[in-house]
């Protein structure tokens, strides 16, 4: 990113102001059935200012990063705040003052790979897949990389610099059985630039072997029986449940708009086996997949404990919502692009592990399902959720049976969490997705396997 020391512009702040320079860099390489259908890079950078005036916000951004652009952005954001204040006259006063600083750069220290090296990586992986699995009807392999680099200065003294990268290889395999395509996709990767996440294509061979074996079973799979069923939700499904169905209802802006979590702090909302935390940057001594140290309002990011042993403990906040609730901001204000304003967003949301072994959980079910991989999903203010399930198996008499075809699960999350009776000690994080809420944003979701009752779609 074009480096610019923002400190010199503090003298231009006339009210509460956040000044942010940001660059997002992406790489995307697609191979569809051996065809290199996409090979691209992009870079988007610029400067933004957000100004608060007595309860009214103004924001402005420019794609240039230079002195003139900074001055124009601050002036335009100030004018926007004054425009709104002149019409609304909210008289809400000042925001809480916080001051924090951090510098966190996850750039690789290794020599950078060129586009040619990355294309070669996918080509080698594709060659391996087509050679090893000749009965595949198709395969799609994709490299996606995103670097988000931000520099922030606020009028209450916060300053930070961060470079948070993520790199993924998507492998989508298709089999044709009886004229019907069956597909199974998997994302490999996580925090870090490509050189730090992947060493060679062979690193993924055993994972792809497992993916292929599941696909073969799925292609001969059955439709589940529709209705309420006892299930073991594996870690990825527990993670997406933590994020979509519970997490969103406890973002303070959604709480204020009447989500199911409103007014329930201190009340029992889940089984005592359930603890749910939105981690700022590390969990169990390990760096999370989307580490946030100082958020885009300049607040030091702290872990937000949402549910502790079944009791709702609190919400996720930015400065404004924290002020309204009379608590400290948690550092959840995040923006995706330089031209985006910070919103209350999750970071790394997870259900905490328990003590029950996965094998024991499966053995305890006479007739149910073991659900492994989620597809897309959604949830709303009522905590009602619906997620696609792209991989799972029936459980019969305590043992895994046939694979099931694509299906959905649905329910009311706060009700479902009360049915949790077993939680495994193994935790897994996923971070390839983007959460959407006006803007997309990278998030991490984690969890162990949980045994619960949930409604499953089928025939």
């Amino acid at each position: 990113m074009h480096s610019l020391d923002l400190h010199g512009y503090a003298k231009l702040f006339t009210s509460y102001t956040e000044l942010r320079a940001q660059e997002n860099r992406t790489v995307r390489i697609d191979f569809v059935k051996g065809n290199n259908t996409r090979n691209s890079r992009s870079s988007t950078s610029g400067i933004s200012a957000r100004v608060h005036s007595d309860g009214s916000w103004g924001f402005a951004s420019s794609p240039e990063i230079n002195e003139n652009a900074v001055k124009l952005a601050i002036r335009a954001a100030t004018d926007n705040a004054l425009f709104l204040d002149s019409r609304e006259r909210k008289g809400k006063g000042l925001l809480p003052i916080v001051a924090a600083s951090s510098a966190n750069d996850y750039s690789t220290k290794k020599p950078r790979l060129g586009q040619k090296d990355l294309v070669q990586f996918v080509r080698e992986l594709d060659d391996h897949v087509v050679r090893k699995y000749p009965d595949l009807a198709s395969r799609t392999l994709i490299i996606t990389c995103l670097d988000m680099e931000k520099t922030l200065l606020t009028s209450d003294g916060s300053h930070s610099h961060s470079m948070i990268p993520r790199s993924f290889v998507y492998v989508i395999l298709s089999l044709m059985r009886h004229g019907v395509p069956t597909e199974l996709s998997e994302a490999y990767g996580g925090l870090g630039q490509f050189e730090d996440v992947f060493t060679s294509p062979s690193q993924l061979f055993s994972d792809i072997e497992s993916q292929y074996e599941h696909l073969v079973k799925k292609s001969e799979g059955i439709h589940p029986n529709a209705g309420l069923a006892t299930c073991v939700l594996d870690a990825e499904l527990a993670g997406i449940l933590a994020h979509e169905a519970i997490g969103h209802t406890t973002e303070a802006d959604l709480v204020m708009s009447g989500s199911m979590a409103e007014g329930k702090v201190g009340r029992e909302v889940a089984s005592p086996l359930v603890t749910l935390i939105d981690f700022a940057n590390s969990c169990g001594g390990k760096t999370c997949s989307v580490p946030v140290y100082v958020d885009d309002e300049g607040t030091k990011a702290e872990d937000a404990v949402i549910i502790e042993k079944g009791t709702l403990k609190g919400y996720m906040h930015n400065k404004e919502s924290a002020d309204r609730f009379g608590v400290s901001p948690t550092g959840n204000a995040r923006a995706y692009q330089f031209s985006d304003e910070p919103l209350i967003r999750m970071r790394n949301t997870a259900i905490m592990p328990g003590t029950d072994k996965l094998d024991d959980m499966i053995a305890s079910i006479d007739n149910g399902y073991y659900l492994i991989k989620p597809g897309n999903g959604q949830a709303d203010s009522t905590s009602e959720f619906m997620f696609a399930v792209t991989l799972g198996y029936e459980i019969k008499s305590g043992k895994l049976g046939r694979a099931i075809r694509d299906t959905t699960i649905s329910g009311v999350a706060f009700d479902m969490l009360k049915t949790v009776t077993m939680v495994s000690p193994d935790m897994k994080w996923i971070s390839s997705g983007m959460c959407g809420k006006k803007q997309p944003i990278p998030v991490g979701m984690g969890g162990p396997a949980v045994k619960c009752k949930v409604t499953i779609g089928g025939r």
Binding site: N36, F59, N80, K90, S138
Partner: protein, 329 residues
């Protein structure tokens, strides 16, 4: 303000100078003026300016693409050199190509600048109407914006399209609350050429707000349900996603689309016809130029249940040996 045509021409020349056999350059300048409402209150006025330069080069059948949001000559020269490096890294593919020459054209729709006072008064009017008519509704978020885009598409075959578009867009997310009971979120969005009508009279927002208040007290369906359902226009778009995706490049090239050999065959009820109309008068937020450089045209995808076209780009068409869709997007 920059002249989009001048910048795009510089970018195209830079690509050819860097060694491209075929090249295209698109410059898009966007300015957005946005009024935000959260929890029923005005919270933010947002103004953003952005530039997007998309460049594509083909050399020896190898294709590369990049996009940047800077338009100075140094950045364009650097992007041209980068995209030739990216192309050199790609596999050669005979299907890589750019659009053939078409008559140069200038397209325009909408206003050049927003009326911020009118935006504020229309939004305020909507909030007051909602409060008075639907007191149980919680207006979680509402956004009214005006976006102006000016773009220029040039390629080395002589394609030369200039577009200017100004459009207002309104979106709202809301739910209803009665005591401890809340309805599900609902959402709607619509685009407008101007602000002549009250926002509550546009799109389907009024009907959805009414429905929201009636959805506070719901009961689950007992057991399995098999029978007829009604899909409203507001959720039909999601249903159509599967169809449009299945007809597009990816599933067609990978031969996994269930419709891959169904052209001119009955794939749906004879009651169903689906049109794609990006340049119709009734669509104020359509598009004039496809991403691969063709003037967009209206078309029929399904006529009385019969599949009339796939949704293939130039690349997808050359790869599969089928026809390019006239408005692939």
């Amino acid at each position: 303000m920059q002249d989009p045509r001048q910048v795009a021409q510089y970018g195209l020349n830079a690509l050819l100078k860097a060694g491209a056999d075929k090249a295209q350059c698109t410059l898009t300048l966007t300015d957005k003026h946005e009024l935000n409402v959260d929890l029923g209150e005005f919270t933010l006025v947002r103004t953003t300016f952005d530039t997007e330069v998309g460049v594509t080069a083909i050399k020896d059948g190898r294709k590369g693409s990049t996009s940047i949001n800077k338009s100075d000559s140094n950045s364009l020269d650097r992007a041209a050199a980068d995209v030739l490096d990216i192309a050199a890294a790609s596999s050669p593919d005979e299907a890589n190509d750019i659009a053939e020459v078409q008559p140069a054209a200038v397209f325009s729709s909408g206003s050049d600048a927003p009326d911020m006072d009118k935006m504020h008064s229309r939004m305020k009017e909507m909030l007051q109407s909602v409060k008075a008519t639907y007191p149980k509704v919680m207006m979680r978020q509402a956004i009214l914006d005006f976006t102006r885009t000016r773009s220029c598409f040039l390629n080395s075959n002589g394609v030369d399209f200039v577009t200017s578009k100004g459009v207002y867009s309104c979106s709202a997310i809301f739910s209803s609350k009665d005591g401890e009971k809340v309805s599900s979120f609902n959402y709607t969005a619509f685009s407008l050429q101007d602000l002549e009508k009250a926002l509550l009279n546009c799109g389907s927002i009024d009907a959805l707000l009414q429905q929201s208040t009636e959805q506070v007290h719901t009961r689950p369906l007992e057991g399995k349900f098999v029978g007829d359902i009604i899909i409203t226009p507001d959720c039909l778009g999601d249903m159509l996603y599967f169809l449009s995706y299945s007809l597009s490049n990816g599933p067609m090239i990978s031969e996994t689309s269930i419709y891959r050999d169904k052209l001119n065959e009955q794939i749906a009820s004879p009651m169903l016809s689906i049109h794609s109309r990006p340049v119709s008068d009734e669509i104020c937020d359509g598009y004039f130029v496809t991403p691969d450089g063709y003037a967009a045209q209206n078309s029929t995808v399904i006529q009385n249940g019969v599949l009339k076209t796939f949704l293939l780009s130039l690349y997808g068409a050359r790869k599969t040996g089928l026809d390019r869709a006239v408005n692939s997007f």
